[in-house]
């Protein structure tokens, strides 16, 4: 069966992506042998949505679906932006692209030359890019270096990126790569850092261990447990571990960052309040269309100094 998924003809962030996927066919369903994703004229993709799409396309290809991407405006439109970010460098060669794949990689040619972005970086445990957290941090500091608390922010940002990426190495038992990227949105006064992997997902690795380690936590719903991972730190390796994600969330909160975590079928959007990230101020979404892995995005608000 062929499934057609059409994206909006304007900006699409992770929330808009969920709305599209939620109202279309279930891409991972084995009923869908052919899936076409259409990017109409005017379509623009924010980095959080872009990384999730990259992971989804590669997952579908890996699970033997035929995937076709149709870019109505060709290189003049969103395809040009995705190419600049290195999207096609990481897209499975089996995925069909219309009208054509770009002749050259914008990320290869212009990589590192735009201070407002960090091109999509591959996260693979066999090929660990030791400089990646520093590259992401440097990009953030180029946007926010004039802040009075710039030095503190720099350290906090490095820790956040280091923990997020290391979490992929720890959890992602998959042949598919993970990805990280950063984009500054000056007009929207936002900076987004997105990390995405196609591994087992936090719940799949955590749940089996929790039944013995912490029966109380194991009775929580996936959504509540996900919030606890970021609030109190929960690890499959025992009670003395699991401080990495909690610690990075605590640092992000100090700088009033929103946190978006998408697992295979659920998603929480955490907005910091006076008492930190809390279950009762989280936006929760359940029974979402399947996307394997863990997809995290921090959105920092940029003030006038950034």
């Amino acid at each position: 069966m062929t499934c057609l998924i059409e994206f909006p003809s304007n900006w699409m962030n992770a929330s808009a992506l969920e709305r599209v996927l939620g109202s279309s066919c279930e891409p991972h369903s084995s009923d869908n042998t052919d899936i076409e994703f259409s990017f109409p004229a005017g379509s623009k993709v924010m980095i959080d949505a872009g990384l999730r799409l990259l992971s989804l396309f590669n997952q579908l290809d890996f699970s033997t679906h035929r995937v076709r991407l149709n870019f109505e405006e060709g290189q003049a439109g969103v395809m040009g932006y995705l190419n600049r970010m290195g999207f096609f460098d990481h897209l499975s060669p089996m995925v069909e692209v219309f009208p054509d794949r770009p002749d050259f990689s914008g990320a290869d040619v212009y990589g590192g030359m735009n201070t407002g972005l960090v091109e999509i970086a591959r996260i693979n445990r066999e090929v660990r890019d030791a400089a990646l957290p520093s590259r992401l941090t440097d990009a953030l500091m180029r946007a926010c270096g004039n802040r009075p608390d710039a030095s503190d922010l720099e350290g906090a940002a490095w820790t956040i990126f280091a923990e997020l990426i290391d979490n992929i190495f720890s959890h992602s038992e998959t042949p598919l790569d993970g990805y990280a990227a950063l984009q500054v949105y000056p007009r929207g006064h936002r900076l987004k850092v997105a990390v995405s992997d196609s591994g087992l997902g936090i719940m799949e690795t955590l749940r089996p261990a929790l039944q013995q380690e912490s029966p109380v936590l194991s009775r929580l719903s996936d959504l509540d447990l996900l919030i606890e991972i970021f609030r109190q730190g929960v690890s499959r390796h025992g009670t003395d571990r699991g401080c990495g994600l909690k610690g990075s969330a605590a640092k992000a909160m100090k700088y009033k960052a929103d946190l978006d975590v998408r697992l295979p079928n659920i998603r929480v959007l955490l907005k910091p309040g006076i008492q930190g990230y809390r279950a009762d101020t989280a936006y929760c979404y359940q029974q979402l269309p399947l996307i394997w892995g863990t997809h995290i995005c921090f959105t920092f608000r940029l003030d006038d100094n950034c």
Binding site: A130, P133, S134, D152, E154, G155, A156, W158, T159, A162, E163, I165, D166, F169, S170, G233, D240, R241, G242, C243, G244, K246, G247, S248, A250, K251
Partner: protein
Amino acid sequence: MNEISVVIRLFDFMERPEGWGRSQGRDVYQKLITFVEDHPGVMVFQVSLNGVRRVDISFASETVIEVARRYRGSKGFCFIDLTDADMLENWEAAAERKQQPVMVWKDNVGRVIGMLPSQGNQSAFDFALKRTRTRAADFAGATPGMSIANASNKFKQLWQQGFLLRREEAAESGGVEFAYYRIG
């Protein structure tokens, strides 16, 4: 204590100035353990952070904090040259998670991260921190209403929880007694 303490430069055990992630942390942990085992007579290891630019919480948790927990009661680990606020926060988060007290020394002033002594043991801990070596009798003698047995009990708890070290030494009156040492 000075003759039985050594300075470890953590950077010498790392491949780069950034300590990132569990995997790198576990490699450094093994090197630290080898170093400690190669110095059997040393009680206190002062971990200098000179040259270390950053560490994340996972790396912190797998390295010095885990080593400190492993040798709790027999060997002590403390930090020196720890000036970066963000890095301190990460060591603190890792120590807190493992409930492992670790001393941080700056200009001869020490403070503990990871966990605090109980309220009942705080004054005994403060007393011990001001001295390189002390005994229950010293604390009891300096504290009105404190019996030696009570002082001894407090020091023992602080030793078991990893706040202090202790050694069995010859007492002036003959026999043996425990001497307690601050870490650092």
